[in-house]
């Protein structure tokens, strides 16, 4: 094959060259920036190092913006000669999805991450003052790694990165397509387009928010490493604190946005499914929350320096780990939306290990030990790269080694506070809360990592179910909410117990009363007596969770009103805590009281198989039938196709006292015709203030089947009837009016007896259609003559007479197009789910308010 000899027409080679130039620029410049920042830190008196380092980082920034700009330019102009453009966009796709196309692929999502780092890096250059050199060195180093993910070169037989500017005809996956051999292939080429599942506004807003959240975890990480490098174990925290809480706000809203997307557009049947991809972004958030709170402790009393270092580092490491989990394809069966494997898992794993190494080696203050640890790590890395071996025992050995080194460094070199915290002090309970958060994050990580453990140790453990996760995490949530309620009422160092009780007793009392009333209504009246044993224990747990949730809301409101005197400026923390408690209350009530509206009348019980088994949660709706469902009556009106979506119109009625049914609303659950990914169902939800009605089609005759089988007659149904009896067809009813016989033929030899059935078919408009099927007996042979009613698509065969009973037998077959369309539906009611969404917004705004306040204080103290 010799591509060079072919002149391809219409290709825009220059754009790709520009893109590749920017990739190389961003990679090289970030590397140079890291080196210069290293020397700037070593030679603080020589300002030229810092100047050069900044220039390099600016060059890196230009490179990254250049890559992004080039890729957008290519997408906007449909340059399908580039594989990435061809894979992720198409001519018919509306331009508003251009952002979604941009970050649909792995390369694009790495770019999104990179560009946030660039923006954050440029802010840090302006704000980090004497921390600039070490902090920016870490940032630049991270950028070296991220930029290399786009290189797409082969080093020592290992492919490093995946280049977004690869030509389609040079892409290893597509270069053998026959059509790319034609010089004019571009003239007719259209892109494969954006996966229709991702063509919605969530895909436009969710990834950038989440990646900004991920990018923000870099700041506390970089500051923590910088602090360790400078041997300044507490100084870095003041500057990192507002960044950390900005990260908490953004990452938190990003994670919850993922939940909202799943709830609105995917068919999980809820907003949180403990999917590995969801967990992978939740866990860094939990750890970041822990890190932020110990930073607050350290502002007042430097007692948990190591904890702060550890958690700040861990949050970023977990972001890398989650990238590894979701991008390496290792999750395979256990996740619905893991990215596909681009063969970069080795590279991702090495980055993860490299930054763990960096975080440990920087706190080993003994030069010889640090050197020894570096040599051992380097050996492992080389063996992976040069000999291409990646045995799990090597990985486990290195893990144990790193853990030992980390613990030893903590014991030997970290400054520790000898003073004992008082039981009645805020720092004590903040610390306990952080510990609980950490343990909770660890358990979620362990469960999510089961596929990894299976791979490392050869186990066959199955992935955890939603119920198992819930059982585990609810106790942690209870402790955290209780701590959220009380901790602000403690003072640093020592609290006056009498005052503490005086301040908190009202909200405690109100919470007991309020949550007592609510949980009796929700869990203990009718529900409790009907519930099986297992469920009763759950109800008690839910009531406790509800109580601490309500307590957290009231206590923080009290704190704001009584202690802070209602001042909005300093209320950020209280507001954020109220928001978090509302998220938990909303999640609890809407999930535990999630009510299945759809039922079927199947009498076969499967309960004896176990509590997970149920065969009554779907309902069959035939077009035109109205069935009761919960407090409503539903009717399947029919379906329409809009573009790639088939919309099923489901009408909801309410019955008035006089028996009349009035239409309340329509829902349009849909099926998306998706050739590449398989047809996908999308639910539709009606939102009310106090509940949501969620409707989801789980099965429908696929449109292809429907069309091919629409002609011809179905299997005949036999009917034994007398004169005057009625037959039922799907579109009419038919009365056997009379039977007539050609009597004159009686008794003759070789006679033919003909009995004619007179059938009167009444259609929906009561119009009468007649049919005359004939029973013909000739020489003891029955030869029926069929009759058809073409307008109604009915066919009759009169084939038997039973003289003893006086009945006749008539076969009825219907044209298949008569058969009514049907759908299988699941419908749920989620009560009070709006508390959850309101809580999200309140938590987000409260956290940002607290950040704004911190920045103001920081600026004041800096002057």
């Amino acid at each position: 094959m010799n591509n060079e000899s072919i002149q391809f027409i219409g290709e825009h080679i220059l754009a790709g060259k520009a893109g590749n130039f920017f990739i190389v620029l961003s990679f090289v410049a970030s590397f140079i920036a890291a080196v210069f920042y290293f020397f700037a830190h070593k030679n603080p008196l020589d300002a030229s190092w810092l100047k050069m380092a900044r220039l390099s980082f600016y060059a890196h920034s230009i490179g990254v913006f250049g890559i992004v700009g080039t890729l957008f330019y290519m997408l906007a102009n449909h340059y399908y000669e580039y594989a990435y453009i061809w894979q992720h966009s198409s001519n018919i796709m509306p331009m508003r999805y251009i952002f979604s196309c941009f970050w649909e692929g792995q390369e694009g999502s790495f770019l999104l991450w990179t560009i946030w780092h660039v923006i954050i890096g440029n802010i840090l250059i302006r704000t980090s003052k004497n921390y600039e050199a070490p902090v920016m060195m870490v940032v630049s180093l991270v950028q070296v790694f991220l930029a290399s993910m786009l290189l797409g070169v082969v080093i020592l037989g290992t492919k490093v990165g995946s280049n977004p500017f690869l030509l389609l005809r040079e892409h290893p996956d597509f270069m053998n397509f026959p059509f790319v051999k034609s010089p004019t292939y571009l003239a007719k080429l259209d892109g494969r387009g954006l996966n229709p599942l991702l063509q919605n506004y969530w895909m436009t807003i969710h990834p950038p928010t989440l990646f900004l959240g991920f990018a923000l975890t870099l700041v506390p990480f970089a500051y923590a490493l910088a602090g360790a490098w400078k041997k300044d174990y507490s100084g870095w925290q003041k500057a990192a604190l507002p960044w950390t809480f900005t990260g908490i706000a953004i990452l938190g809203i990003g994670v919850l946005m993922g939940g909202a997307w799943a709830y609105e557009a995917l068919s999980f049947g809820g907003f949180w499914a403990w999917d590995p991809v969801e967990n992978a972004s939740l866990v860094p958030w939990i750890v970041l929350v822990g890190a932020g709170h110990v930073m607050i402790v350290n502002k007042n009393k430097s007692g948990s320096l190591f904890t702060t270092y550890f958690l700040s580092v861990l949050s970023f490491i977990l972001v890398l780990y989650s990238t590894f989990l979701t991008r390496s394809g290792i999750l395979g069966d256990s996740s619905v939306h893991a990215f596909t494997d681009l063969g970069m898992e080795k590279q991702l794993l090495l980055y993860l290990l490299a930054f763990i190494f960096l975080a440990i080696v920087l706190i080993i203050k003994n030069k010889n030990s640090a050197f020894l640890y570096s040599v051992l790590t380097a050996t492992l890395f080389l063996s992976v790269f040069a000999f291409n071996i990646f045995p799990s025992y090597l990985l486990i050995t290195w893990g144990v080694l790193s853990l030992t080194a980390g613990v030893a460094a903590f014991v030997l070199y970290f400054p520790k506070d000898a003073a004992e915290e008082d039981l009645w002090s805020r720092e004590f309970w903040l610390f306990i809360g952080t510990l609980v958060l950490f343990v909770s994050a660890t358990t979620i990580s362990i469960f999510t990592s089961i596929p990894i453990f299976n791979k490392l140790f050869g186990n066959k453990t199955a992935a955890y179910t939603i119920a198992q996760y819930n059982t585990w995490e609810i106790p942690f949530a209870i402790i955290i909410l209780a701590l959220i309620a009380v901790t602000q009422f403690f003072k640093y160092k020592k609290t006056d117990t009498a005052l503490f009780w005086k301040n908190i007793r009202l909200s405690l009392l109100v919470s007991i009363l309020f949550s007592g009333v609510c949980s009796s209504a929700l869990y203990f009246f009718k529900a409790y007596t009907l519930a099986p044993e297992q469920q009763k224990a759950n109800y008690i747990t839910y009531s406790i969770l509800l109580f601490v949730g309500v307590f957290a809301v009231f206590a923080n409101a009290t704190y704001w009103v009584k202690i802070l005197k209602g001042k909005i400026k300093s209320a950020g923390a209280s507001i954020a805590h109220i928001g978090f408690a509302m998220v938990m209350i909303g999640a609890l009530v809407s999930t535990s009281k999630k009510n299945t509206l759809s039922h079927n009348s199947s009498k076969k019980s499967v309960e004896m198989l176990g509590k997970e088994y149920s065969n009554q949660k779907s309902i069959l709706l035939t077009q035109g039938d109205t069935l009761p469902m919960g407090a409503y009556y539903v009717n399947y009106k029919g379906k329409v196709q809009e573009g790639i979506n088939i919309l099923f119109q489901v009408e909801y009625f309410k019955q008035l006292p006089d028996g009349k049914k009035v239409k309340e609303f329509d829902l349009f659950p849909r099926i998306q015709l998706n050739e590449r990914m398989g047809n996908a169902f999308e639910p539709d939800t009606r939102h009310f203030i106090d509940n949501d009605i969620y409707t989801h089609v789980t099965y429908a005759e696929s449109p292809e089947n429907n069309r091919s089988s629409a002609s011809g007659y179905s299997e005949p149904q036999n009917n034994v009837i007398h004169v005057g009896d009625t037959l039922f067809a799907s579109n009419s009813f038919i009365i056997l009016d009379s039977l007539t016989t050609n009597r004159d033929e009686y008794g003759k030899k070789d006679s033919t007896i003909v009995v004619t059935a007179v059938l009167k078919a009444y259609d929906i408009e009561k119009k009468i259609h007649k049919a005359y099927p004939k029973y013909i007996l000739h020489k003891n042979q029955v030869n029926p003559e069929e009759a058809e009613i073409k307008e109604l698509g009915l066919k009759f065969i009169f084939w038997k007479i039973n003289p003893e009973s006086g009945s006749v037998e008539i076969n009825l077959s219907e044209n298949k197009s008569n058969q009514k369309d049907f759908i299988v539906l699941e419908a749920y009611m989620f009560p009070y789910i709006n508390i959850l969404w309101m809580g999200c917004i309140i938590m987000f705004l409260g956290t940002l308010l607290a950040v704004w306040q911190r920045i103001k204080i920081l600026k004041k103290s800096g002057e």
């Binding site: 007719k188 997970e612 088994y613 149920s614 779907s618 398989g678 299988v824």
Partner: protein
């Protein structure tokens, strides 16, 4: 020793204890032979749909019952009763993971995960428009 350390150690010890206890009782991946040996234990069984035997789905009778035959990775075939609606695109699935248990000669599943052909690995030629 500080109070925080003591409480910390207690919390972590409880968590580790509970972890070990639950990890032991967690369901595991298995094949039909193993599931048959322990009829009331829940397993995840991986296999492929046997396309030669027709599937049964009569939503008019029960929309939450779907019957098909699956061959596990060891080649053993069993009748499967899924107590759910028939999944969309079921026939297109390349691989099936069932969660459930054996009851007599039938495997009763309450959950199903399907792996469909991936959009990246398909070798289909693109459709050229005119």
């Amino acid at each position: 020793m500080k109070k925080t350390h003591i409480i910390g150690i207690i919390i972590i010890a409880i968590a580790i204890g509970a972890l070990i206890a639950t990890l032991g009782s967690t369901s595991t991946y298995a094949d039909f032979t193993e599931a048959m040996a322990n009829p009331d234990t829940e397993y995840h069984v991986v296999g492929k749909l046997d396309k030669a035997i027709p599937t049964e789905y009569n939503p008019g009778i029960n929309p939450d019952e779907f019957v098909f035959h699956m061959v596990d990775n060891k080649g053993i075939e069993k009748k499967v009763v899924l107590h759910k609606n028939k999944p969309q695109d079921f026939e297109r699935s390349e691989q099936i993971v069932l969660i459930g248990k054996m009851k007599g000669e039938e495997f009763h599943a309450h959950e199903i995960l399907m792996k469909c052909p991936s959009k990246y690995n398909d070798t289909k030629n693109p459709v050229a428009t005119n």
